[in-house]
Point group: C2
Chain length 141, copies 2
Amino acid sequence: MISNKAKYALKAMTILAANQERVLSAQEIAKKGKIPYKFLEAILTDLKNRKLLRSHRGASGGYALARPPGEMTAGEVIRAIEGPIAPLLCASLTGYRRCEDCVDEEACAVRSLMVDSRAALSSVLDRRSLAELAAFSQLKP
Amino acid sequence: MISNKAKYALKAMTILAANQERVLSAQEIAKKGKIPYKFLEAILTDLKNRKLLRSHRGASGGYALARPPGEMTAGEVIRAIEGPIAPLLCASLTGYRRCEDCVDEEACAVRSLMVDSRAALSSVLDRRSLAELAAFSQLKP
DNA sequence: ATTATTCCTATAGAAATAATAGGAGTTAAA
DNA sequence: TTTAACTCCTATTATTTCTATAGGAATAAT
């Protein structure tokens, strides 16, 4: 299960990808995505600090993707908010850490299972671009 | 990320699968898996209530798998402890629930992503049997 | 009887989640 | 040059989940 925060982040990024030509304010995004405004603000700040978004202050300011939506993936967004996607850190490429209760990592069946789970999840999340998400959301106009 | 509880449950079930012929006490499992004893007790109770384990009380009592390890999967264990494996309930088969912030479920790109994620995860977790986990853990004797 | 177990109930600190509040600073446009 | 629409920053807080621990009652084998 992912957090609401990560879900809202994905929604916001999809909305921004679908409106790539213009800068969107947090208000606009909150409205389009039914996301609590102040919570969204904090999320957008995180995404900006992680270099996934660019912001423009002042009147008619707002947020825009930092890179073309075809070059950004769902996995990047989730990692920015949630950290590693591996179910256990001992199976993570981006945040590896040995379990404290580990007896023999090479022979650990749970780790092997989580390595495969991570690969399966990554094969979806790291291949799906924000452009694809945006395109999907517009299938029904 | 899964909880320690789910990780311990998987370890315990793997240990039980690897010692299928006998009944193991919580003490034994705790020692073999480096799992906090009292915490493990609670976990084993959950697994028993979910019908994944059978227990025998009294001296020389303990726990054993409820079914042959070849017929039980990692997915079952995780669902017993954590609930649905889908990252969002709107993408779950076993615990479906619509998001409160949902505008149009059919057109939701995030949901579509999570449906695919769930399928990818399930293809690993629901295909890996406890027998396979036990066999892996014994590759290095 | 004794001892090794499961089983039951209760408790509790710590961390993460999911926000909300208020205002300071910035900028475009009226 | 004021105003309105924004982002940005710092707190605060309620709720839930996580990760256990404690103590003892019930049960069964030896």
